[in-house]
């Protein structure tokens, strides 16, 4: 991948609300042009605060953000013109029609009227049939689509989706992911927040984990998946060991449970896992075991251990 300047760069960003609650500690983050970035974290971790600052909804306490090279405070017009936001809450103007509200959004972002574009966006979101319906007459899922249409009305280069699938049915979720992929193909950078790990796994190019107002990990999803691919074999011993014999030094082993267990970590995707050799070596060392089990650490486990490790 050629070195590109990041489309969003966040540096030294913090936010303390008037109540004294520190929603963001010091956040540094770079989003690459054209990627799908999943911001993963439990409720209250600071996901929405981070997005809200980048999009101009909340003033930061310290730090700077640049969107496509434009400072979000000093050069806010240029920065915001690039950004589309679909917030978490369903907030719509109940009495407006679908088409009117989407056209309004386009005007608000300073773009020339473009009925063809509005039509395309509405069709992409299966809203065209409802174009002249008042928003209050739509179902929750349809309202969510309207909010996405509003965010796309000014052809943003960066799209923020805050918890896009919270309370969304399966069909809409599938539609949404298709749309996200199409947008990415057209060069739009997408940042989504979620607390569903499968979602990050399915969609993202990179995953950032945020907890208690700090970004604690940013990694390529494939790298995370590689970690995911690691399994552990736990052997319960017949007699506890004081130490591992020298002959087993070549294996990735840990003596656990006070010497009652040996834990072997291996890569399922490697050509040889080493299990057979290990069992043979154990037999030769005279170590007998009464039970064995294998376990796979999920992204969830990695996530939980990361989050716990920080508390």
């Amino acid at each position: 991948m050629p070195a590109m300047s990041p489309i969003i760069s966040v540096s030294g960003l913090s936010k303390t609300y008037a109540s004294g609650f520190q929603a963001l500690k010091t956040v540094d983050l770079e989003i690459r042009q054209g990627e799908i970035f999943a911001l993963l974290g439990p409720n209250g971790a600071g996901k929405t605060t981070l997005i809200s600052i980048i999009c101009g909804l909340v003033n930061p306490s310290t730090g700077t953000v640049k969107a496509d090279g434009h400072d979000i405070v000093t050069d806010y017009r240029a920065a915001r013109a690039k950004i589309g936001l679909v917030p978490q809450e369903l907030t719509t103007d109940a009495f407006e029609t679908v088409r009117a509200t989407v056209s309004f959004s386009r005007g608000l972002f300073g773009k020339r009227k473009d009925p063809d574009l509005v039509e395309r966006v509405l069709k992409d979101l299966s809203l065209w049939d409802k174009r002249d319906t008042q928003i209050r007459r739509l179902s929750g899922g349809m309202k969510r689509r309207v909010m996405i249409a509003k965010a796309l009305a000014h052809e943003p280069r960066i799209l923020f989706l805050d918890e896009p699938t919270a309370g969304v049915d399966v069909e809409l979720r599938q539609d949404m992911w298709q749309l996200v992929r199409r947008l990415r193909e057209s060069g739009v950078t997408i940042i989504l927040t979620t607390h569903y790990i499968e979602e990050a796994e399915e969609m993202a190019d990179r995953v950032g984990v945020i907890s208690k107002g700090e970004i604690i990990l940013v990694e390529d999803k494939t790298e995370l998946m590689r970690k995911l691919g690691r399994k552990q074999l736990t052997l319960s011993l017949q007699a506890p060991l004081a130490a591992l014999p020298e002959s087993l030094a070549g294996y990735d082993l840990i003596l656990a449970a006070g010497g009652d267990e040996i834990v072997f970590t291996y890569d399922t995707k490697a050509e040889r896992t080493g299990i057979t050799a290990l069992l043979q070596a154990l037999g030769e060392a005279g170590i007998r075991f009464r039970d064995l089990n294998t376990s796979q650490s999920s992204l969830e486990d990695i996530f939980v251990s990361l989050v716990r490790g920080r508390s």
Partner: protein, 263 residues
């Protein structure tokens, strides 16, 4: 990565137009509440004080009582409607959450305010003119200074729409939204000489009345109709502009600091 065509406009006129149209559409959806109701309630004053009681009242400054109260009543409606329209317009998106879009859009605060104030003031001025027209059915009217009449009408509508924006941002509930219009503005308007000349007051109360900003609005507006005023028209104009300036500065401060909007 930034190409020339990406350069954002230094002035987002389309956003102002979008907000203005949105607000006007909201009014047109509710004509009964927006237009008919204020016109009807003001017309009741003309019927009661102008046609019925007015005939038994003395003239004030040589003007029939029914006609005398018309400028004050128009001002009363102008003040309350401007505040109500603008404060609701800005409070409601805050209440429902749709304000996120305004805050995330490439618009300057003064562009947002221009859209809302423009729409609220337009409605008030149109209402004022409809009431004026209605008044002519009940009482004989003359307008000596039509230009000044319009100027006071527009200036007052703009000023109090701005005041409404401030109230709408400050309010954190529907009650607060109502408090200032009902408990402050309506009394000030009634005591500000809508129904009498402040020269009719005892000297002490006349002095007290001069601290009421609405006195200057009504006086100036009445002068544009009949050529007579409680205070000099220059003072009226000066006071109106001063209050406008205070509202502009306050609104600017609110948006720059993000008070009650971005924290």
């Amino acid at each position: 990565m930034t190409s020339v065509s990406d350069a954002p406009p230094a002035f987002n006129g389309r956003a102002i137009a979008a907000i203005y149209r949105f607000e006007m559409a909201r009014t047109l959806r509710t004509p009964l509440q927006s237009v008919v109701s204020p016109v009807l309630s003001t017309s009741l004053y003309f019927v009661v004080f102008g046609a019925a009681i007015g005939s038994r009242m003395q003239e004030i400054d040589g003007i029939a009582y029914g006609a005398f109260i018309v400028p004050g009543l128009i001002m009363l409606t102008l003040l309350t409607q401007s505040i109500a329209n603008a404060s609701f317009a800005i409070y409601f998106p805050k209440f429902t959450g749709t304000i996120y879009e305004l805050l995330s859009a490439p618009v300057a605060w003064w562009e947002v305010v221009l859209g809302y104030v423009g729409a609220a003031a337009t409605k008030s001025v149109v209402l004022g003119l409809i009431i004026l027209l209605t008044a002519t059915f009940f009482v004989p009217l003359r307008i000596e200074h039509p230009f000044w009449m319009l100027l006071f009408l527009v200036l007052t509508a703009v000023t109090f729409s701005l005041f409404g924006v401030i109230i709408g941002i400050w309010a954190d509930g529907f009650e607060r939204l109502q408090v200032v219009p009902l408990l402050v503005v309506t009394p000030l308007a009634f005591l500000g000489g809508s129904f009498y000349s402040i020269d009719m007051l005892p000297p002490l109360w006349r002095t007290v009345a001069l601290f009421n900003p609405v006195v200057y609005l009504i006086s100036g507006f009445r002068w544009s109709f009949f050529g007579v005023a409680d205070v000099g028209v220059g003072v009226s104009l000066g006071m109106t502009l001063a209050f406008l300036l205070v509202c502009i500065v306050a609104t600017g401060w609110i948006f720059r600091t993000g008070y009650r909007l971005k924290n």
